[in-house]
Each structure stands twice: as structure tokens, then as C-alpha cells.
């Protein structure tokens, strides 16, 4: 068996284990009965035992050395389960930590891997922070808008301006920052504004600056887009499955409603759109570690997958009839996650605005 074949088998097995684990250990309603972070208190240690937080850490630093294929499989299963587990923010931190070799970076990789550190992260384009030098380290000033920040997060990943140059930081959250939490309809994720006013940070919290930071920020943005695209694909697959199953069992006028052409064609359209989103997401996942167009393809996958998930989740409510509109039925849980996924990082229109310039430059370069 080739190395690639072995790796594909590992990823396939990981997905099977994750699906079974999440079905047994996590209840969809848990974040709605308490909070997302409360629901993670029992989930995170078990996920850490399965090695999920070590997946992207290099083998020589105690991790499993996996590329995006493994993470993508997990993001998809977490999306399918509507899981509140903040894996994406932790993995974005790991990707930045891999490039730093300080004792702090090693300790953080261990701590994240063990499920001890809970990491929040700035959204791409989510606010601006300045770093300035101080006698015994650095001082942060500025504001993050709608950061992904689990209640009880111990660390925060952000980018900041350091004397005119970009920098990537992973700081300890120890009370020096002002946090204003947002109440949001999708309870599976937690968002907050974070205000820094003369907040001290150690020098080792700066993981990268200059050119390296520019590359890390672009990589993180692509990782974020692709993680959300995978989440959307998983959620859309699940709610479509459940909707089709409902039409096979629900009877009206003496037959299953799934035999009516109006509903069959609607489901066929959903399936067709889902397959297109899956294909683009798979293409983006295979490009992320190799292509210089990775960021553009990942953004495209995010747009398509999020719009598809939202459309399928909305259709699912309709196809369930009256029961689909109730609190007791799970349709709205999918719709809420779909709507938040579509909004995170910017609306599809924001994304298209940002994509235009690099695409125009690529076309110009091809012509020249």
C-alpha cells in the first residue's frame, strides 16, 4: 500500500470514528440547554483523548503530522453533528505555532494537544490591533469585532500591526482585556468583541512578523474558509438525509409524500447543488497545501458551500411541513448554523468583493 493510500485509509477511518463518537457522546441540543462552552466541558477531554487536537502538530513535536485532509474530515463530521467543539480555532493556532520554535510555542502545542488550552481566534478582517514595544515585552491596543471566542477561552489568536508590519500573536487571556459577548441565534458558537487598552503581552506571544506573518495570515484565512466549507457540507448532507428520510415515512393522501414529484425534484435539486459544493470543497482541500491559488479556491468553496447549506436548510424546513417550524424539531438548529456559517468572515458579497482584485491580477498576468 502506498503512503498516499495509507493516509487515505487513515482519514476515512478518522471520519467513521468521529461520526460514531459524536453520535454517542454529543447531543445536538446540549448547547441550547446550557451554552456551547458548557457542552464542551465533557466533550473536549474525550476529543483530546482521540488525538484530535494533535492532528496537525508535526510528528517530531509529539503530534500526528496530518495535512488538511484529516482536518477536513473532522470539520465535516463536526458540521454534521452541529458540534460546538472549537477545533477550528485550535487548529488555526497550531498552524501558526508550527512555525515558531520557542519554549512557549512547544508548551502551547502540548497544551492545545491535551485539550487544556481553549483557543479563541480573530475572524479574518475582524478588527484591528496595534502592538508597541514596552520595557518588558509588548503592549496591545485596539479592538476585535466578533471574534470566535469560547466562554472560558485561555488563549486568543490574532493578527496585529507591529510598527507598520503585520504580526501574528497567540496571547494568554488573563483578564487584561475587555470582552463583550454577543447573543446569537446559533448557540453552537460563541462570538465576542475584544477590546485591548494597554494590554501587556510577552515577546514570545508574537509567533511571526513581516513576510512570514503575511503568509501565515493568508494561510489562516484559507484554513478558516475551508473549515467552514467542510462544516457546511457535513451539515447540508445531514439535514438533506433527514429530510429525504422524512419524506419516505410521512404519509398523506394515502401514500408517502416522497413519492410526489414536486418533492422528489426539490430533493434532486438539493442533492445536485450539494454535490457541486462537495466537489469544489474537495478541490480546495487538495489545493490548500500546494497551490498558490489556495486562498482563492478556498474562498470560492466557502461561498458556494455556505449558500448551498443555507438553501438546503431552508428547504428542509418547508419540506417538513408544520413540524419543521417547531422548536422541538431539529430543522432550525441546522438553519441557524447555516446562516451563521454564511455570515462568518463576511457575506458572500463581501467575499466576492475581496476575490475580484486577485482574480483580475491573475487574468492580467496571464495576458501579459
Amino acid at each position: 500500500v502506498s503512503a498516499q493510500g495509507e493516509n487515505d485509509a487513515f482519514v476515512a477511518e478518522l471520519a467513521v470514528i468521529a461520526r460514531r463518537f459524536l453520535a454517542e457522546q454529543a447531543r445536538r441540543r446540549a448547547p441550547y440547554e446550557t451554552t456551547a462552552s458548557q457542552a464542551c466541558l465533557s466533550l473536549t477531554p474525550k476529543a483530546a483523548e482521540l488525538g484530535w487536537f494533535l492532528l496537525a502538530t508535526p510528528e517530531e513535536r509529539g503530534g500526528l503530522g496530518q495535512d488538511f485532509a484529516a482536518l477536513g474530515a473532522l470539520y465535516r463530521e463536526l458540521g454534521r453533528a452541529l458540534s460546538p467543539l472549537p477545533l477550528m480555532t485550535a487548529m488555526m493556532a497550531v498552524h501558526a505555532l508550527r512555525e515558531a520554535s520557542s519554549d512557549y510555542a512547544n508548551a502551547m502545542l502540548d497544551s492545545i494537544g491535551a485539550g487544556d488550552a481553549v483557543v479563541g481566534a480573530q475572524l479574518p478582517h475582524g478588527g484591528a490591533v496595534h502592538v508597541s514595544s514596552a520595557p518588558d515585552g509588548f503592549v496591545l491596543d485596539g479592538r476585535l469585532s466578533h471574534a470566535l471566542l469560547p466562554d472560558g477561552a485561555t488563549h486568543l489568536l490574532l493578527q496585529a500591526d507591529l510598527a507598520g508590519e503585520p504580526a501574528v500573536l497567540l496571547i494568554v487571556l488573563d483578564g487584561g482585556v475587555a470582552i463583550k459577548r454577543h447573543e446569537i441565534w446559533d448557540r453552537t458558537r460563541e462570538l465576542a468583541d475584544v477590546v485591548f487598552t494597554g494590554v501587556r503581552a510577552s515577546a514570545e506571544a508574537i509567533l511571526a512578523k513581516g513576510e512570514q506573518a503575511v503568509r501565515l495570515i493568508a494561510d489562516r484565512s484559507a484554513h478558516f474558509d475551508l473549515a467552514l466549507a467542510c462544516d457546511c457540507v457535513g451539515g447540508a448532507e445531514q439535514i438533506l438525509d433527514e429530510t429525504v428520510e422524512y419524506t419516505r415515512t410521512r404519509r398523506q393522501f394515502g401514500r408517502e409524500i416522497g413519492s410526489f414529484q414536486a418533492l422528489k425534484h426539490r430533493c434532486a435539486d438539493m442533492k445536485t447543488e450539494l454535490e457541486a459544493a462537495k466537489a469544489l470543497t474537495a478541490r480546495a482541500a487538495s489545493a490548500i497545501d500546494s497551490s498558490d491559488r489556495a486562498a482563492v479556491i478556498a474562498a470560492g468553496a466557502k461561498i458556494l458551500a455556505a449558500q448551498t447549506y443555507r438553501a438546503i436548510a431552508m428547504d428542509a424546513v418547508q419540506m417538513h411541513g408544520g413540524i419543521g417550524f417547531t422548536w422541538e424539531h431539529d430543522c432550525h438548529l441546522f438553519l441557524k448554523r447555516a446562516l451563521l456559517n454564511e455570515a462568518l468572515g463576511g457575506s458572500p458579497e463581501d467575499y466576492k468583493d475581496r476575490l475580484f482584485e486577485p482574480m483580475r491580477l491573475a487574468v492580467d498576468a496571464a495576458r501579459a
Binding site: V244, R248, E256
Partner: protein, 49 residues
């Protein structure tokens, strides 16, 4: 460059007009949807009346 399984001529006006034909030929879009729903999604067949 032509796309679409070699059915395109490269003349976009001709291809545009032909695109309507491809919603019918080889099984209409509606028949394709029925096939997806029954064969892929395993939804029940329509009751014969």
C-alpha cells in the same frame, strides 16, 4: 476552448441556442431529477393511478 463533453462548437451563439436542446435531449431535466431522487436518494416511485 470547448467544454461540455465535446457537444460545444466553440461558437458561443450556436452553443447558447443549443443549450436549450440539452435540457431535453438525452432525458429531460425533469426525468433526470426523477432518476436522482429514485436511484440516488431512494425516494419512493410515484404511485400508478
Amino acid at each position: 476552448m470547448t467544454l461540455g463533453g465535446g457537444h460545444e462548437t466553440g461558437n458561443w451563439m450556436v452553443d447558447f441556442l443549443n443549450s436549450y436542446m440539452w435540457t431535453i435531449a438525452g432525458g429531460t431535466n425533469e426525468i433526470q431529477r426523477t432518476i436522482i431522487s429514485e436511484r440516488v436518494l431512494k425516494m419512493p416511485r410515484e404511485k400508478l393511478s
